[in-house]
Amino acid sequence: MISEPETSISTAAATDIYRAIVEAAGAGDFPEHWQRLQQNLEKLGPRVHTRFREAQRLLRENGAIHNVFDQSNSNRAWQFDPLPLIFSVAEWGQLDQAMIQRAELFNLILQDIYGPRKLIEKRLLPPELVFPHSGFFYPCADGNFPQPQQLNLFSTTIAKGTDGNFWVVDDHVSPPFGAGYALETRVIMTRSFPQLFEGFRVHRLAQFFRAVRQRFGQLARQHQEYPRIVVLTAGPTHPDYFEHAYLASYLGYPLVQGGDLVVRDSCVWLKTVDGLHQVDVIFSRLADHACDPLELRSHSGGGVPGLLQAVRRGNLALVNPIGSSILANPALMAFLPGICRYFLGTDLKVPSIATWWCGQPRECKYVLENLDRLIIKPIQPLPDMPQSTPGRMTDAQRQRWTALISANPRLFVGQEQVDYVAFPAYEQKQLATRQSLVSLYVTAHNESYQLMPGGLSRVAAAGDNLLVSGQRAGSIKDTWVLTQEPHQQVNLWLRSTSDVPLSPYFVSLPSRAAENLFWAGRYAERTEQTARLLRSILVKLREVKEFGDPDDRISLNHLLQALTHVTLTYPGFVGKDAQQKLDDPRAELLSLIRDIDRSGSLRSSLRSLGRSAVEIRDLLPEDAWRLVDQMQSWNPRVGRALIGSGRMYENVHQLVLQLSAFSGLAYENMARETAWLLLNIGRRLERALNLIDLLNETLVPCYDSATEARIMETVLASCNSLVVFRRRYRSFMQLSPILELLLLDENYPRSLACQMRQMKRHISELPHEANVPTVGQDEEIISSALEQLQATDHKGLTRQISESGSYPLLEALLTDQKKRLQQLSNCLTQFYFRPTQALQQFGLPLREMVL
């Protein structure tokens, strides 16, 4: 371990600093639990810094704080803070009651808004917060919807005021955000900082997720015994895709996108490799309005036409119920106290921060007069909103807000900023105090609600205000809820009488996942082959430069041309101005290595691998996914002049090793199920196609014997087969044994015949939907391709020489094999991947709501 300089954390003086921090934070007279945490921290000493780096790296690599495929520019730059936020038994008891009350209240509001609307009649809720709100869905309010549709998941963000009281600053319903991050943070804490837990009894989170699973299972209206539940995501470009995939795999539900689902006969079906499977419950992580493009007319895509009809007919339950986004409205806070007294006959156990809704003249006036110190929020998502910057508003900003609010007062609220407690935090190797917010999560459970004993705490950066900077700023940290009870081992998967059993349904692989597995296999192989070929070329390039042997030059040229064919980067080294490029291949080579936007380049193939892999990251071994993620930043900074130097070679070589590690990890860790079969079929198919292209370019033409020997040697090297060949044949380079090895030897893992044989075996193991008329076509194609190879005599392939100087029989065989492989690829696409067709809407224009 690298020794770290001592810092304030482990010095004796830290105790006093720590004590001062905690006392200043209003936690009273240095409660026992903070004292213990400080002791644990002290025991850990400087190791805390290395552990911190490790935790930060884990979070990053898992994609929790960094999503390379995110296109939303949400710019999340979460840091990890290893110091947990700790809640005592007494404090938590108070919050537990308050959150359950709040969830029940929000549920009652939801029932009322989509039902009798008594709250409006009783003047407890202004109609402006319902009828024109973008979250109020008229199609869900017509009395044909199954009632009641209970609010299933609910999340609230709280702050602790300097007076010691808790305040609610935010409520989330659709879709609740962050429970997966809370889980991930805990996993990382126990992995990287087990010592900090010493002497603490911290509530575990598994029980909460077990309640969630139980609840989801109860929502199924059919298949009660084996409810079919999926997690619906907008896909890898969504900033929270990590959480979607994480929760799906933790809860054991397939992760699907809109295109994976189809509505037939008012039921929702999942397209899988072995046919359609009915879905009973969707845990939707799509925006509410994006669920059904037919009835909700959303621009955003990703939904399933007919989803609302399936709900209406009682064949589907959605979590949360569709239409819940009516509750995503900060103006509700202004009316909650009255609503609470009306429904529950009591006061709110934890109040919301003071909120003024501008739809009321007096409140509006107050907000306009106090723009400088209030946080201004729209009551529904609105385009082009400026950032609210209380305390540092310029005149222009003030005018902008005044104009916006005055034009549409009902769309805005002003909220009080609270002075909230600063808790101990770890920042840049120092202890500090930082204001923290905690998001709490509630699930419906046995007629009431259950609170997750933990949460996601977010810490503001110095001088920043989380209430303003939003959900993606600052650091995240674990939240500990202390318990006096001894630990109970809770296993999420433990079956009890009331719990929901697992279903064989999970074995079915969604078609889109199948397609991505197939392509991840193909791209991984394609990238690896390209990298290997480039590696051979770089060696040859150096030899040409050093020895100036004309035979080396000829074989280099053939390799370069093969590279163009294999990567389909025409015209490249085979086009009209090829001679010039062959004379100085450096610019073209550099482009084929580094130009990410050039299809066929190494980095472009790497990116394609990443894009396929991210879609199936819940199915890949964790470490395999990490490798793919790491490789996304591969970009050798070597200029054109140095391309023949060892540095570029070393870079490409490292990449080959990483790609090999990826295939090894997949090979060693994936169960031999459909997912693995498809990944491997993709890899085999690609390897076979690459080999055919390479041999077609290099070995079909005839050469004089000196050149031929060089070329054959290079071909063997780029197929990783030079050593095997030398050991086995112990002879000079001869074409016929090379063809035997690379084409026909079924037992040699780099040969064409071996790829065919493996594909044949895998394809026979794939689930086959019985009632498809073309069933078995894929097996026929691969069998006949293999038989053709088996019937080939390697000596016969070079018997004829054409007038133009090539081996026509070899060429014919390769061409024929390639055609069969392309047929096979099309056939698999049709059978297993059920390509999604584009949706088109008609009958109604889409116009944006304009302010």
Binding site: E121, F131, P139, Q309, M849
Partner: protein, 308 residues
């Protein structure tokens, strides 16, 4: 008066559609001014998953799917309707001043008032743009009785806006209609509704048909034999009053109501999602005919039926 209405919508696709899912709002609803004797949908090719329901606004809505490849979709609605003469007992000059109505809508919470609240705010196709208030003010003079003011608004729209089927599509935003002062029945209804809502009144969009009855010496009514649209304004204690700004009069016996909502988007006659299909072409034809026991004056068919 008895009518038989035949409303045919036909979609042609350049490539086969494998599956489509649709919602129609074509069946004629009951109102206090009309009785729907028989209203049926015919769908070709054969539809599945057909479900009829009454929507939030009380309109008859039909959901259906076609789960087989097809390149043409034809939806035909045939309705036999009896329309009663509307008698406007309320004299426009005697209705409440419009400001008093706004105040009632703002402060009262009776079931009637709550039920018209959806019609008081901006809706998907009717943003409450500032020019709407300016335009409305000229009709909504202080203390003017609501119905008289609404009548005036209707007349001004009739005179200020030119009827021009080439000028707008259903995708033309309200702002552009206001600026160019051109449009079709749907746009005129949207303008009027926007004006009334901007001042805090409740106004709704009515879709339906109008009978083409060119009496000798009279002008042909625009919008005959096509879908038609107009607006209605709510007067507490009395209900909804319809105005047709395209034809500059209040509907009596020749307007057949199909549905109403906040704007066109709530009552789109046919909307759908198709899987595949390439480009599509749509042809609409509407035929409004008096029933044979009545003097049969005219039966017309129009191949391309734009909204009037």
């Amino acid at each position: 008066m008895n009518y038989r209405i035949r409303h045919v919508t036909r979609y042609h696709y350049s490539e086969a559609v494998n599956m489509c899912r649709n919602e129609t709002c074509l069946l004629v609803r009951e109102t206090e001014h009309q009785r729907s004797r028989n209203s049926v949908l015919q769908i070709s090719p054969e539809a599945t998953d057909i479900h009829e329901r009454s929507d939030f606004f009380g309109n008859l809505r039909t959901h259906f799917a076609i789960q087989q490849p097809h390149d043409t979709l034809t939806v035909t609605a045939v309705s036999d309707v009896e329309v009663f003469p509307r008698i406007y007992l309320q004299k426009p000059e005697q209705s409440h001043p419009w400001e008093a109505v706004v105040e009632m809508l703002r402060t009262q919470r009776t079931p009637d008032i709550v039920s018209v609240m959806p019609y008081r705010y901006a809706s998907p196709l009717i943003p409450l743009l500032p020019p709407l208030v300016d335009y409305a003010r000229a009709s909504m003079t202080p203390e003017r009785p609501l119905l008289a003011a609404a009548m005036d608004l209707m007349q001004r729209i009739y005179h200020d806006f030119s009827y021009d089927p080439t000028s707008t599509t259903i995708a033309t935003p309200l702002a552009e209609v206001l600026e160019k002062r051109r449009g079709v029945c749907q746009d005129f209804a949207h303008v009027a509704i926007g004006c009334l809502r901007s001042l805090g009144l409740a106004a709704r969009y009515v879709s339906g048909y109008i009978e083409n009855l060119p009496a000798p010496g009279q002008e042909r009514l625009i919008g005959a034999d096509a879908s038609h649209a107009w607006f209605a304004v709510y007067l507490p204690g009395h209900g909804w009053f319809d105005f047709d700004p395209t034809n500059n009069h209040q509907p009596r016996e020749q307007h057949i109501t199909v549905a109403w909502g906040r704007d066109f988007s709530d009552v789109s006659p046919l909307k759908g999602i198709a899987l595949g299909g390439g480009k599509h072409q749509v042809v609409v034809s509407v035929d409004v005919a008096r029933q044979p026991d009545q003097p049969l004056l005219l039966q017309q068919q129009q191949s391309q039926g734009p909204l009037s």
